[in-house]
């Protein structure tokens, strides 16, 4: 299965990487996915997104546009091709 992980905001600007592709032969949790992405980009992106295994207020992780907070949070299982969009905490108006 192919998971396209898009990195945005300060993640993208600091790492100078906008997208990472992860291939997995079996279902994978969001946490495991982000750990794999961290290895690929050589930087622990989880520190920008989580604290104590909880997603930071304002951090956004979407699977095909749906926030994982409305699924099973970091334990949400990905079992098909999809796009995961990752934003560290941000705001606007």
């Amino acid at each position: 299965m192919k998971i396209v992980v898009k990195l945005f905001a300060t993640l993208r600007l600091n790492l100078k990487i906008g997208m990472v592709e992860i291939h997995s032969n079996s279902p994978i949790s969001v946490l495991q996915l982000l750990q794999q992405v961290s290895k690929n980009v050589n930087s622990d992106i989880l520190t920008e997104l989580t604290n104590d295994n909880k997603i930071l207020v304002g951090a956004i992780i979407l699977i095909d546009g749906i926030n994982v907070l409305h699924q099973n949070k970091l334990e949400t299982i990905i079992d098909k091709d999809c796009v995961v969009s990752v934003f560290p905490p941000n705001g606007g108006g």
Partner: protein, 616 residues
């Protein structure tokens, strides 16, 4: 040249803690200027700023009046926390009857003008009547004088600001003024202060233009006495720490500004594109907040008075043009909504709006509406008078027709009345994405139910900031709500509307609410004013403000039938993406909202509610 009696300010009102305790009333018809006491009983009930000015406007004008008639009044109002060290304490409001919507208009702005206005010794300045010829008001701690502005009439806001500062002299001078858009009475005209900051929405700039009032120049450093200066200082320090430690206000906003939302909203499948034909933009990577940095246009961030967040962007383009912005909404409306993927055009359009004095959202949405109408064949090529074709994606068209609108030329003259009147004149108002004739901002309501309710019920029409439901529904602050869930959304919208009324009335920026809550605002207000509000009393003041605005609108002829959304959002499901199949469920949410508000089924505050709020 002075055209009025030069007025010397009187002694401050020593009973008014955090307020200067004074209102300046300027009659532009007769040239007379006088001072009156700020009604402190009303100040406690309505806090200040937006609340108090709305109450005074409601008391003093006939809500059915034509907004551009002489009988309308234009009020510049600060809050008790404006000009203090409270974090983000630089905001002020412009309150009037809005010509775009026919509703009450209260337009909020930042920068440094508000603090300098308060520093003159006045909480509020009320402009009445109409000057016989172009003028400006000069106000400092000792002088209030109407002066001839004929030498700056016809100039844009930047030229006007530079000329007036140069001729008056002094580093402390701040200018709020209109550009050509306001002079030509465009219903989308803004009042610009500090060149790049806008009291943008609802056509407040046209009201200023209708009074032949070109500018308002202030210079003052008088600090209002605080009730408990030591406690206030301690509270300020605590709240600044909260803001700096918060991941949104301490990290996200300073680093990327509001334009980080381009990708967030696009990935969430609710980024209106090509006048809502689509809900994602294939070229968003060219125009996003990240792109602004990656392309090297962002020079630095910038902050308003007393603001620890510093979300402003100062940019310089390869063509040498520089200035502040674009913010998310401004970038979106000249970008994806028009199908334009050129960040230089988008940024330049933002600069032009600041110079001409336009509300960026209404101007951009109007151009996108015109593009939609042209592509559908409703506007004929001959009407463009050899101008570029009004096609989606045509960068040249954005700049060309923006100028035409500002200068009221050709088809621009009709477009300058806003997208609703423009589309209606061709028999197609359904193409104008507005509420109460004010253009909607950059989030498709079909993707976010709470915000859609906020749009429909906003007292000043299509607007996202009076209840920024994007915060809980998309960003997850203070907690994450499912954007498609209906349960409890009316309650959240009401709370946000009432709290935003408090923040606007106090003189602070709504971005502080990413980090601060009702308890924090209550502490700041109490230590400054001595009013000793409980949280409930403070929120009730916010609710009172909301209701006074509603009552004004009802008297102006706005009804529950205007609490609606464009037909497309109610009846046409989104076709693709995470919100595929969704429409907005206003018919479910609105009755519950009215009930929570204590209004009847026609959205009229009941006698019980009015009595509860002291409005009976």
């Amino acid at each position: 040249m002075s055209i009025s009696n030069t007025y010397i300010a009187t002694e401050p009102n020593h009973n008014a803690m955090a307020y200067q305790g004074k209102i300046l009333r300027v009659n532009l018809s007769s040239g007379t200027i006088c001072t009156e006491d700020l009604p402190m009983d009303l100040a406690k009930q309505y806090i200040g700023g937006r609340g108090l000015a709305s109450k005074i406007l409601a008391n003093e004008i006939d809500p059915t009046i034509d907004a551009l008639a002489e009988g309308n009044k234009l009020i510049f109002a600060t809050g008790p926390l404006t000009g203090t060290n409270a974090p983000t304490g630089g905001r002020y409001m412009v309150v009037t009857k809005g010509p775009l919507t026919g509703t009450i208009a209260s337009s909020n702005s930042g920068g440094f003008f508000g603090a300098k206005l308060k520093g003159t010794g006045y909480d509020m300045v009320i402009f009445e009547g109409k000057a016989a010829y172009p003028c400006y008001l000069y106000l400092d701690e000792n002088t209030a004088e109407l002066r001839d502005a004929s030498h700056v009439w016809g100039k844009n806001t930047h030229e006007t600001t530079d000329i007036l500062i140069n001729e008056i002299g002094g580093e402390q001078i701040k200018v709020a003024c209109i550009g050509q858009a306001g002079e030509n009475l465009s219903l989308m005209a803004a009042i610009m202060n500090d060149k790049h900051r806008a009291a943008g929405r609802t056509g407040v700039g046209a009201v200023m233009g209708s009074k032949n009032l070109k500018a308002f120049v202030v210079s003052g450093r008088k600090k209002a006495a605080l009730n408990n200066p030591e406690a206030f200082k301690k509270t300020v320090k605590e709240k600044v720490k909260l803001i700096k430690e918060n991941s949104i206000t301490g990290e996200g906003l300073p680093k990327l500004g509001t334009k980080v939302l381009d990708n967030i909203i696009n990935e969430s499948g609710m980024y209106p594109t090509r006048n809502y034909a689509d809900i994602t933009f294939e070229d968003v990577h060219e125009v996003s907040g990240e792109a602004l940095v990656e392309k090297g246009y962002l020079v630095k961030n910038s902050a308003c008075f007393a603001c620890p967040i510093a979300c402003g962007r100062f940019v310089e383009l390869p063509n040498g043009r520089k200035g502040e912005g674009p913010e998310y909404e401004s970038g979106w409306c000249f970008g994806a909504l028009c199908g334009v993927n050129d960040l230089i055009t988008i940024t330049d359009a933002n600069f032009l709006c600041n110079e001409f004095g336009f509300d960026t959202i209404s101007a951009g949405v109007t151009i996108a509406t015109a593009m939609d109408m042209y592509e559908k064949g409703y506007i004929k090529k001959e009407e463009l008078e050899n101008g570029p074709e009004l096609k989606f994606g045509n960068s040249e068209a954005v700049i060309h027709y923006l100028k035409k609108m500002a200068l009221s030329q050709g088809i621009g003259k009709k477009m300058a009345m806003g997208s609703y009147r423009f589309a209606e004149s061709y028999g197609h108002p359904e193409l104008s994405m507005t509420v109460k004739k004010q253009e909607l901002p950059a989030y498709d309501a079909r993707g976010v139910q709470g915000l859609g309710l906020a749009y429909a019920t906003n007292n000043r029409g299509g607007c996202h900031v009076r209840a920024y439901m994007i915060s809980p529904e998309i960003l997850g602050a203070p907690q994450k709500l499912d954007p498609q869930e209906l349960n409890e959304k009316p309650k959240w919208v009401k709370i946000f509307q009432d709290l935003t009324s408090v923040i606007d009335s106090a003189g602070l920026c709504i971005f502080s609410s990413f980090a601060l809550g009702a308890k924090d605002y209550c502490e700041l207000l109490n230590n400054a004013t001595g009013f000793n509000y409980s949280e409930e009393e403070m929120m009730q003041a916010g609710e009172r403000v909301w209701n006074i605005e509603r009552l004004f609108n009802l008297k102006a002829g706005i009804t529950h039938l205007d609490d609606t959304l464009p037909k497309k959002m109610l009846e046409e499901p989104i076709k693709t993406g995470p919100n595929a199949g969704k429409v907005h469920q206003l018919s479910v949410l609105l009755p519950e909202y009215y009930k929570l508000r204590g209004w009847d089924e026609k959205g009229i505050p009941t006698p019980t509610k009015l009595k509860e709020l002291g409005l009976a």
